[in-house]
Symmetry: C2
Subunit: 345 residues, 2 copies
DNA sequence: CTGAAAGCGCTTACAG
DNA sequence: CTGAAAGCGCTTACAG
C-alpha cells in the first residue's frame, strides 16, 4: 500500500494582509498595487481608486522588510550617540528626527555608552539594516568601525566635533576653541587662579578638548596651569555641587572654575547658594552648552552656547541631500558657538 | 537576421557580502552558514570554525530584511512617545533601551507630538516592521489606532498612566491619585488658596488628571476650587517662571501653587528667588516628577517622584516575557509614586 | 498604463 | 550534522 502524500510546505507567514490580497480584491495585478502606492501618478485614476478602497477595506500595511529587500533600499538612518542621559544628545536627536521624519526616514537609535567596542558592534549590526546613510557622534572610532563605515560606502555624517579627517561629512564645532574662548574670557575678567572640573575625561574626550583650550589660554596669558579636577561620575547637578565643594577645599586659592558642562556648573551654582559661597566674588563659575536653565539661576551662568538641535538638523539635511543625490555644500560644517557672558563670572 | 538575446535581468543588489558568499568561501551550503550563525551548537565545531573564518574574512553582515522576511519575526520594538523634549520620556526610553538591547531587540522611536492622528499614522507605519511587540505611552488613542493595535495581536504595553481597559498590558501610575496626594499635603500644611498651573492640558491629559486629583482634594477639604491657570507653551523653566508672575498678578490671594511638572516648578522657584518672592512664606510651590534638580534649589522643591526609568524597564521586561512566551505576572502594574516633602511647601 | 516573471537574501520544513 | 528546494512579500526590469 503506497500512500500519495502532497508535500505541504508551510512557512512562518505572519497572517498579515499582503499586496496580493489587496490586488485580488481590487482585481488587478500585485505590481499595480505596488505602483498605486509608491507612484500613484503612474496608475490610472480608476485603478488607483480601486486599490485605495481595497487597501483601507483590508487594512493593508506595507511589509517594510519585503520592500527593502526587493529594492535594496531602506529608509532607515542609524543615529549613534554615546549617551542618552545627556540633554545635549537628546536635543541633537530631536533635530535629526524632525528632519528625517518629514522626509519619510526612520532614525534607529544606537547608544555606545562611551565605549568604542560597543560602537563597533553597534555599527556592524546597524549596517545590516542597509541604511541609506548614518549619523555618528564623534570622530574617534575603533579601527574596525572605521573600516566598516568606509567599506559601506553610503553617506555618513560625524557630528558634535570638528576633525581634520572626517570619514565622509562632518558637522560640529571646535571644542578646543570653545575652551580657549572661555579661558580668554576668564583671564580678561581678571581671574588668575583658574581651574577646570570634569568627569571621565578619557571617555568624554570633547570635554578634555575644552580643557585643552582653556589650558592654552592660560599658558598664553602666563597664568598658572593645572591638571583638571577630575571626578569619576556621570555629569549631574548633584555631582557638580559636590565637585565644587571638594575642589575649593583641595585648592582654596582658585578664583574661577570652568566646568565641563552646564549640568555640573548649574549644580555648582545652586550648591554655592546653599552654602553661602558668593559667586563670582569668592569664585567665578562658568559652564558649557547653554542649557536653558543656565540663564535662570542666581546669578545666571556664564556659558558657551552650542547649537545642539541645529547640529542635528544640519547633519540630517546634509545626509538627505547626499542620499537624494543632489550636492549639499561643503563636506565639513563648523556650526560655531557663542560665549554668553552673564553674572557668574 | 535574427539575433539571439540573453535576457539579462539585473536587480538592485546592494553589492554587499551575502550568506552565499560566505558559504562558498567556507565550502558549505548557505543554510549551514545560517545555522552556524544562529544556532552554533547545531553545527560541528569544524564547520563552525570554517564559517567563522569566512565571515570575518569577508566582513559579512547579516541582512536584517532578508532574515526578518524569511522568518516573519523581527527584533524591532516600536516605542511611541508624545514628546522628546520632556526629560520624563527620555528616562523612560533609557530604561526601555537598556532592557531591550541586552536581549538583542532594537527600539524604533516614534514621536506623536501629542497628536492622536500622527500616532495613528505612526502605528500603521511601524506595524510594517512586523514588530515583536510595541510600547506606547498613554491610553488615549484614536479608534483607528486601537483597531490596528488590537488587530495586530502581538504583545503591547501602554505606559505612564493606569487605565481600566488596557488594550493588552499596562504599566504606570495613577495621576489622579498623585494630584490628590499633593492636594492633601498642601491642605494639611495649612494652605487655603491653592491653584494649579499647567500648559496644553487637553493634550497633556495626564497633567489634567493631576489637576483633577488636586481639585478632588480641595473639594473634600471644603476649600475654594479654581480652574487651572493654563498657558499655551511647552513646559520649561522659563515658562514656569513667567507663569508664576502672571498667576500671582491675576490671583494674588493664592498661597500655594501646584505646577503640572518640575520643569515649570523649578523655573518658578528660580524666578521667585530673583524677584524676591519668598517661598513658601508668600506662596508655596510644588511640582511633579522628581527631577534631580528639584532637590537642589533654594528652597528645595516639594514634588511627587515618579519612577520613570523603572516604568521603561518594567514595560520592556513584561513585553519580552510575553514575546519569549513565558508568563510575566499581572497585565497591569501600578508602579506608584512618592510624595517628597521639602522646604518649598 | 498594466502585467508576468524573476529575484532580493535570508530561513523553514523536509529529507537523509 | 548537513543540504536542496521552496517560500517570505515585495520591486525591478522587461514587454506589450
Amino acid at each position: 500500500m503506497t500512500s500519495t502524500r502532497m508535500a505541504v510546505r508551510r512557512r512562518a507567514h505572519s497572517g498579515a494582509v499582503t499586496l496580493k490580497d489587496v490586488a485580488e480584491r481590487a482585481g488587478v495585478a500585485p505590481i499595480t498595487v505596488s505602483r498605486a502606492l509608491n507612484a500613484p501618478d503612474s496608475v490610472s485614476a480608476a485603478l488607483r481608486a480601486q486599490v485605495e478602497e481595497a487597501v483601507s477595506a483590508l487594512g493593508y500595511v506595507r511589509n517594510q522588510y519585503a520592500g527593502a529587500l526587493a529594492s535594496a533600499a531602506s529608509r532607515i538612518i542609524p543615529v549613534i550617540v554615546p549617551s542618552l542621559s545627556n540633554a545635549v544628545f537628546i536635543e541633537v536627536i530631536q533635530g535629526i528626527q524632525q528632519v528625517l521624519e518629514e522626509a519619510g526616514y526612520q532614525p534607529l537609535l544606537g547608544n555606545t555608552q562611551y565605549d568604542l567596542d560597543r560602537e563597533s558592534k553597534l555599527v556592524a549590526t546597524l549596517l545590516g539594516w542597509s541604511p541609506a546613510g548614518l549619523i555618528v557622534a564623534g570622530m574617534r572610532h575603533a579601527e574596525r568601525t572605521r573600516t566598516l563605515l568606509r567599506g559601506y560606502g553610503r553617506p555618513l555624517v560625524e557630528i558634535m566635533e570638528l576633525g581634520a579627517r572626517p570619514i565622509d561629512m562632518n558637522v560640529g564645532l571646535s571644542h578646543v576653541r570653545a575652551g580657549e574662548t572661555m579661558g580668554q574670557h576668564l583671564v580678561e575678567r581678571g581671574y588668575r587662579q583658574i581651574g577646570f572640573i570634569g568627569g571621565r575625561l578619557k571617555q568624554d574626550y570633547r570635554a578634555a578638548q575644552r580643557y585643552r583650550g582653556l589650558d592654552q589660554a592660560l599658558a598664553a596669558a602666563g597664568l598658572a596651569r593645572r591638571p583638571p579636577f577630575e571626578h569619576d561620575q556621570k555629569s549631574s547637578a548633584q555631582v557638580g555641587g559636590n565637585a565644587l565643594m571638594a575642589t575649593l577645599e583641595a585648592a582654596p586659592e582658585l578664583d574661577a572654575l570652568f566646568f565641563a558642562n552646564d549640568d555640573l556648573a548649574v549644580g555648582a551654582l545652586l550648591r554655592a547658594q546653599r552654602e553661602g559661597i558668593v559667586v563670582p566674588a569668592r569664585v567665578a563659575i562658568a559652564g558649557f552648552n547653554g542649557l536653558e536653565i543656565s540663564a535662570l539661576t542666581t546669578p545666571p551662568l556664564t556659558t558657551i552656547v552650542s547649537p545642539r538641535q541645529q547640529i542635528g538638523e544640519i547633519a540630517a539635511r546634509k545626509l538627505l541631500g547626499r542620499i537624494q543625490g543632489h550636492a549639499s555644500g561643503p563636506a565639513r560644517i563648523d556650526v560655531g558657538f557663542r560665549l554668553e557672558v552673564r553674572a557668574s563670572t
